[in-house]
Symmetry: C2
Subunit: 97 residues, 2 copies
DNA sequence: ACTCATTGTAAACTGTAACGTTACACGTGT
DNA sequence: ACACGTGTAACGTTACAGTTTACAATGAGT
């Protein structure tokens, strides 16, 4: 896995949702029902997208929670790949003739 | 979202990987490089699939970590859906003529 | 009947992470 | 000077995956 770091969902949310709608962090946080700190950290890539937050965003923007979760998952897996090795033994697949 | 509860990835791992290969929990845990307890709780749906565990499984079974993570994500989102409401205000989309 | 492997799980602990509240310092614009 | 919006530090809470250790139950083999 040598692909480059996937985009953080918070960045996408900031650039593609908040900015076009001219929403401040304070306003958006209130509408989402979370603290200003929680949203600020999210859009500044200091926190991951939680399932809770994904649901709130999907409701507020009428998008699918899955699409937001997928962005986070790609990033989470990418990060996990960075800290190999893992000392894993390959399972003994039976040889079927 | 009224779909039924998605299958836990641990159950799939147990039924479709461990059982066909006649692997015990103890053996599989050792090969994955995790504690017996960690794997036991996973296959008994007491713990979620962590990104770490997904990578270990993907290495041991030569499958994609994404596919395992996707199972967990569906389950995670399904669980999050169960505890609504969320008091979220829909964003003010500008009316473009 | 006894032994051994396997199992699930409790207990105690650690590390991490999201979230809340509160408070501060900074910048911008009126 | 003041009001806003901002990022973020400092606290505390809650949740959860992971570890090691230990125990009781089960099942298979001798």
């Amino acid at each position: 896995m040598i692909k480059r770091k996937p985009t953080h969902p918070g960045t996408v949310f900031l650039e593609d949702v908040m900015k076009p709608l001219h929403l401040t962090v304070t306003e958006a946080a209130d509408m989402l029902g979370v603290s200003r700190k929680a949203l600020s950290e999210f859009v500044n890539e200091k926190a991951s997208l939680s399932p809770e937050m994904a649901l709130r965003i999907s409701k507020a923007t009428n998008t699918s929670a899955e699409s937001w979760m997928n962005m986070q998952q790609k990033l989470t897996l990418w990060k996990a790949y960075q800290k190999e090795p893992k000392n894993v033994t390959v399972f003994p697949f039976e040889v079927v003739i």
